[in-house]
Symmetry: C2
Subunit: 288 residues, 2 copies
C-alpha cells in the first residue's frame, strides 16, 4: 500500500502524537505530514526539526486537505473536536484515535459522524511514562500491539489502511476486537497495573532513600506510577465497572496470600507462587 | 585493595553464585576462584568454561584454603552448611551470604560461628527472574544496591573487604544498615512487589492472549511473577510480620482508589495519581 499520495494530519503533538509524527515520517513517507496543536511553539519546533511538513493552529485550515487524521488528544477532547469540526473534514477521509478506553468515544460519536467520514476507533498499546513532544519517540511502537474496535460503519478497505499504517510504524500485533472485550481486557492489563503502581509509590515507606533498598523489580513495577493524572483519572472513571471488577479480583488474590502468611500455610503460598511461575514462564523468552 | 593473594570460594553455582563467579573472575582476579556445588556436572562445566579455577563437591576439600567464602545457597541451607562445616573453614576467613531477609540467618548463626571466622551478612539487590547456572550474568550487579547488615562481631577491615568486592563487581550503592531496617524495607521494596506480580498473573483474565492487550507496563509489572516458589515461600514466611504490614498498607491504598471509583470522586483519584506522579518523578531520569 502506497501512502505517497496521501496527506496525513496528526491532531495533538504531545508524546503520542509526536511519536506518530516521527514514525510516520520515517516509515510511511506520506505526501504531506501535517499537525494541529494549540501550542504554536511546538508546531514551529516540529517544523524546524523536519518532523512535520507544516503545523496549523486552526484545524479548519488543514482538515479539508487531510486524507488520514490521527487524533492524539485526550478522549474527551476528541469528541469535542469532532463535533466542532465535523464540517471541516475532507470527504472520504479516515479519522482514527488512540483512546485507551473505547466505549465512550464510540458511543458519543455514533450517529454524529458524517457518512462520508470513516471514524476507526484505534488503540496503539504504546507510550512511555512522560508527557509532551520532547518525549516523542518512534520506538514506542516497536513490537507493540495495535488494537482496533471497528464499528459497523467502518469500510473494510479503510480498516486495512489503518492496519497497514500500524504495521509500518512498528506494531507487531494488529488486532481487531469488540469494544466490550477491549475495555474489559484493558482494565486488567493496563488500568489495574497503573492503579497498582500508584498504590505502591503512595506508601509511607517510599522516600528518597528507596533506591538503597530496591532492585530491578521495584523499578519495573513502579515505572508507570509517573502517571498523567488528567488522562488516567478520566480513563479510570470511564471504565469504572471493569476496573472495579479487576481491583476486586486482584485484591482477593492478595488477601489469599496474606491469610496464608497469617496461617503460615507454606503449601498455599508455594502453590500460589508456583502457579504464577508456570503461567508467566509460558510467555518468557529466557535468553532474550 | 588487592585480591590476587586471596582464594575466593563460591558455595552454590546457581544463577546468583554463577553471576558472582563470572563477575569476580573478570573484575576481582583472585589467586583462585573455587566453587562448591552438589551438582558435579555444573562444576565440570564451569571449570571447562573457564569461569572457575576448580570445583569441589565436598566443601571440606576446599574451605580450609578459602580466604573469602560467598554463600549463594538457600538461606536455610546456609545455616545448615555453616553448622555442618564450621570446623572446615580457614582461620581468619570472611564468610558472607546473599539472603534477602537477614533476621533468621543472623540470629541462627549468632553464637555458633567460630571466633576466628567473620560472618558478614550481605544482600546484593541483584538477580534476574531465572534459575540455574545457565542464567548467570555478571550484569546483574551493574548499578545494583549491595546491602550489609553488620553484627557487633564483624571487623571493620573485613567489612571493607566485602564492600570493595561489591563495588568492584558493579554495585553502585554499598550501604550498611541494621537488620530491622533492612527487613522492613525489603518487605516493601521487594517482597510486596513479588506478591503483587504473582497476584496479577494468577487472574482469570490472564491467558495466552494477554500479549494482545498488554503494553510495556504489564510486562514490567509481571516480570518477577516468574518467581522461584521454594526460595520466596521461605523468604515471605521468614519476614511475615513485615510483609503483612506492607500488604495492609498497599491494600488500603488500592481500596481508597476503588472507593473513589464507586463514588466517582474524580478529585480524589486525580489527587492520588498526582501524588504518585510527583513522587516517582523525583526519581526519574527522563532522558535516560
Amino acid at each position: 500500500m502506497n501512502f505517497n499520495d496521501k496527506n496525513i494530519t496528526i491532531v495533538g503533538l504531545g508524546m503520542e502524537g509526536g511519536s506518530f509524527a516521527i514514525a510516520i515520517k520515517e516509515f510511511i513517507k506520506p505526501r504531506n505530514l501535517f499537525a494541529v496543536d494549540i501550542d504554536e511553539n511546538i508546531l514551529i519546533a516540529a517544523e524546524k526539526l523536519g518532523v512535520i511538513s507544516k503545523g496549523f493552529k486552526n484545524p479548519a485550515d488543514i482538515l479539508g486537505k487531510s486524507d488520514i487524521v490521527i487524533m492524539c488528544i485526550y478522549p474527551s477532547l476528541v469528541i469535542e473536536f469532532m463535533k466542532e469540526h465535523m464540517e471541516d473534514f475532507k470527504s472520504g477521509c479516515i479519522v482514527t484515535d488512540v483512546a485507551g478506553v473505547k466505549r465512550n468515544i464510540v458511543n458519543e460519536l455514533d450517529g454524529i459522524v458524517r457518512d462520508d467520514i470513516d471514524f476507526i476507533p484505534g488503540h496503539p498499546m504504546a507510550g512511555n511514562e512522560f508527557r509532551g513532544f520532547l518525549y516523542a519517540d518512534k520506538k514506542i511502537f516497536e513490537g507493540c500491539s495495535y488494537l482496533l474496535t471497528p464499528t459497523e460503519q467502518n469500510k473494510e478497505e479503510n480498516l486495512v489502511v489503518i492496519e497497514t499504517l500500524a504495521r509500518k510504524i512498528g506494531a507487531s500485533i494488529v488486532f481487531r476486537t469488540d469494544i466490550d472485550t477491549h475495555d474489559t481486557m484493558i482494565a486488567y492489563a493496563s488500568q489495574l497495573i497503573h492503579v497498582i503502581a500508584s498504590s505502591i509509590v503512595n506508601s509511607d515507606y517510599y522516600s528518597d532513600d528507596i533506591t538503597l533498598f530496591s532492585g530491578g523489580s521495584f523499578k519495573s513495577a513502579t515505572r508507570v506510577a509517573n502517571i498523567n493524572p488528567d488522562l488516567w483519572t478520566d480513563a479510570f472513571l470511564e471504565n469504572k465497572d471493569n476496573l472495579i471488577k479487576q481491583i476486586d479480583a486482584f485484591s482477593s488474590n492478595i488477601q489469599k496470600l496474606k491469610d496464608a502468611l497469617i496461617e503460615e500455610d507454606a503449601d498455599l503460598i508455594h502453590g500460589f507462587l508456583k502457579e504464577s511461575f508456570t503461567r508467566s514462564n509460558r510467555h518468557t523468552n529466557k535468553f532474550k
